[in-house]
């Protein structure tokens, strides 16, 4: 770790001193140290470690704020435990803000005051990012996105080969040699994005979504230049890097003159592109930004696709990605879809805006140094799944799918893990689609 110096301190404090509005000072001044948020956080619940209480994470940032920006903190730091920005607190911040928070926001909803703990954690991460202390593992993912256009550094050739292969799959699946995965086409209704995990590890989810578009007779395209829905700089909380990534997807949608930017199944991708991107680039988007979950629900409601719910009879449950539900307000559409696609749907307890993170949020899946912690906090999700008795777990997020797959092995759950698009695609019958597309 680079030793702290005056310039680094200045860069860190700048984050606390640049107020665009009253939100930051509000949340830095509000915590009353009641400790009642402890049991809302999966880190504390699974470890009983007092360092992991959400308020403790807020305290790291607000103690620095008090030390440099309040009268009492400057004159009597001991009174409010106002702390200097030094190597010790930085080490603690890295460990707790990057390594012990999935940025799920569960604690926020339940805080007795209303402190936006997750927002303060993000501000703390922003300080660390500005000071150059983003964990290398996370930063390398951001770097790959910045340098290659996608966080897995997939080459153009590999990507287009995969798409060609998936197009063949689609044609087989739909029994139609003319079924296509359009690339870089202008003036379409939908520009669809992907989580790079799809072309890299789960290409069948691409053909699944293509099958849905095919069945709905959607006018759509993928871009070979900018298809990555993720923005890991949202997790590292480096605003300039997050802006660069957000700007690219904006520019591509604008260039292709698509009416709607449809975000793939990726919780943080939805949050980063639908809600944070316009603020990163300080511009209102002239096109609609919606999630694949919403568009699929729309197709079913409008009768554009007709899932057959007799096909999937196994008990199915849903894992809610925190960033899609608690932080983006997409709560009911995934349930509507599943109720139309599977025979036996069961909720986890708790669910919806009270759900527990799978443990893979906040960039944890990229930070291998915290792997053990990540899998131990997943105990809660494993128990939730076990209690439903379901044999299929659906989640509209590829990061969650990755974590759930690891939970499945670690906790011996013996369940199938599926994306929502895969479930929907499995319930679309070829005869119906052919009639539809005639």
């Amino acid at each position: 770790m680079v030793k702290i110096n005056e310039d680094i301190i200045k860069a860190g404090l700048e984050v606390l001193n640049s107020h665009k509005d009253s939100k930051l000072i509000t949340h830095l001044n509000s915590c009353v140290h009641c400790g009642l948020c402890a049991k809302t956080c999966l880190y504390y619940l699974t470890s009983n470690d007092k360092r992991f209480i959400p308020a403790r994470k807020v305290e790291l940032v607000s103690a620095i704020y008090r030390r440099y920006f309040t009268f009492i903190g400057k004159t009597m730091p001991g009174l409010t435990n106002a702390r200097k920005l030094d190597d010790d607190i930085i080490a603690e911040m890295i460990d707790l803000l990057y390594g012990a928070c999935v940025m799920c926001g569960r604690c926020v909803k339940h805080c007795s005051i209303g402190v936006d703990i997750e927002y303060v954690v993000r501000k703390g991460r922003e300080m660390l990012a500005k000071m150059g202390y983003v964990p290398e593992s996370l930063q390398s993912t951001v770097k790959a996105a910045l340098e290659t256009g996608n966080n897995m550094a997939i080459s153009y050739e590999d990507f287009t080969d995969t798409i060609e292969w998936m197009e063949e799959e689609l044609q087989d699946d739909c029994d139609d040699p003319d079924a296509r995965i359009p690339l870089n086409e202008h003036g379409k209704n939908v520009l669809y994005t992907l989580n790079p995990r799809e072309p890299k590890f789960f290409p069948l989810s691409i053909s699944a979504m293509a099958k849905i578009f095919y069945a709905a007779k959607e006018s759509w395209t993928l871009s070979t230049y900018m298809y990555d829905v993720t923005n890991y700089a949202y997790f590292s909380s480096h605003p300039a890097e997050a802006k660069t990534i957000a700007q690219r997807i904006y520019d591509e949608t604008d260039k292709l003159k698509a009416k709607r930017l449809v975000l793939a199944e990726c919780g943080h991708g939805v949050r980063a592109n639908r809600w944070e991107a316009p603020n990163y680039i300080e511009k209102e988007f002239p096109f609609d930004v919606i999630t694949s979950v919403e568009i699929i629900a729309e197709y079913i409601k409008e009768g554009r696709i007709k899932p057959n719910k007799e096909i999937i009879t196994e008990k199915t449950t849903l894992h809610d990605p925190c960033n899609l539900v608690r932080n983006a307000g997409v709560i009911d559409d995934q349930r509507y879809i599943l109720k139309n696609c599977v025979k036996d749907f069961v909720e986890m307890v708790p669910y919806g805006t009270d759900n527990f993170c799978c443990g893979g949020g906040g960039g944890q899946l990229t930070m291998s140094e915290y792997n053990d912690r990540r899998l131990s906090i997943a105990e809660i999700k494993a128990e939730q799944i076990r209690k439903t008795g379901a044999s299929i777990v659906v989640s509209p997020c590829h990061n969650c799918i990755d974590q759930l797959s690891q939970i499945n092995v670690t906790y011996k759950l013996n369940v199938k893990i599926k994306t929502l698009a895969e479930i929907v695609a499995d319930t679309l019958l070829v005869e119906n689609m052919l009639n539809n597309n005639k």
Binding site: E276, N327, G329
Partner: protein, 207 residues
């Protein structure tokens, strides 16, 4: 007028000025400018934030910690009552005996709640870890204020002591955690605004 009245009035003025400072700072900085397309209603989100979202049934911090939550509610009600009484006592000490009795009983209860919370802060490892001197001072000052308010109703001789306690509390309020009297409202406003903008609140059918 007695010296302790002057001390109390001066402290009240300083406290008020401190509050105005924090309040104006918040107003000046204003609400966030959000460039994303709103999908819900900030107004409904803010209303929900101050109403349903505060319902103990919807808050794990409340229903998982019911005794602490109830103590907290009584303690805060006691504080409001003590503040009202402070202003009333400026003008008259002549309060109906039954009312005095009821007030004193409630203030005694809220004093016990305050003391209980202090003991918990000292003995609970998790809470002790979170606490700083400000947390203890704030609790002690407010609890003494409750005790003083209840006592002065029946023992007028403690009036000067009561006024000194009230003055210390007033001077301390804008400095430490007690300024959450203002920031609580700002925090609930901001999360209501945030969740309302994104249509997370008011909560839809799904929990």
């Amino acid at each position: 007028m007695e010296w302790y009245f002057w001390v109390a009035i001066t402290s009240l003025g300083i406290c008020f000025a401190g509050y105005i400072y924090h309040f104006l700072k918040l107003i000046n900085l204003g609400s966030p400018k959000d460039y994303s397309k709103k999908s819900g209603s900030t107004k409904s989100g803010i209303i929900y934030s101050f109403t349903h979202a505060m319902n103990p049934v919807n808050k794990e911090s409340a229903f998982l910690n019911l005794p602490t939550y109830i103590s907290g509610v009584i303690y805060h009600l006691g504080t409001f009552l003590a503040i009202i009484l402070f202003f009333v006592l400026f003008f008259t000490t002549n309060i109906n005996e039954l009312i005095s009795l009821l007030l004193a009983a409630f203030l005694l209860l809220s004093t016990l709640c305050g003391a209980g919370m202090l003991i918990k802060r000292i003995t609970d490892k998790k809470l002790r870890h979170l606490s700083n001197p400000d947390d203890y001072i704030s609790n002690i000052l407010v609890t003494l204020f409750h005790l003083g308010s209840g006592t002065v109703l029946f023992i007028p001789d403690v009036y000067p002591v009561y006024m000194v306690i009230a003055s210390l509390l007033l001077l301390y309020i804008p400095l430490g955690k007690l300024k959450h009297v203002i920031y609580f409202f700002a925090a609930r406003y901001h999360i209501g605004y945030f969740y309302g903008w994104r249509s997370v609140w008011p909560t839809a059918k799904s929990k």
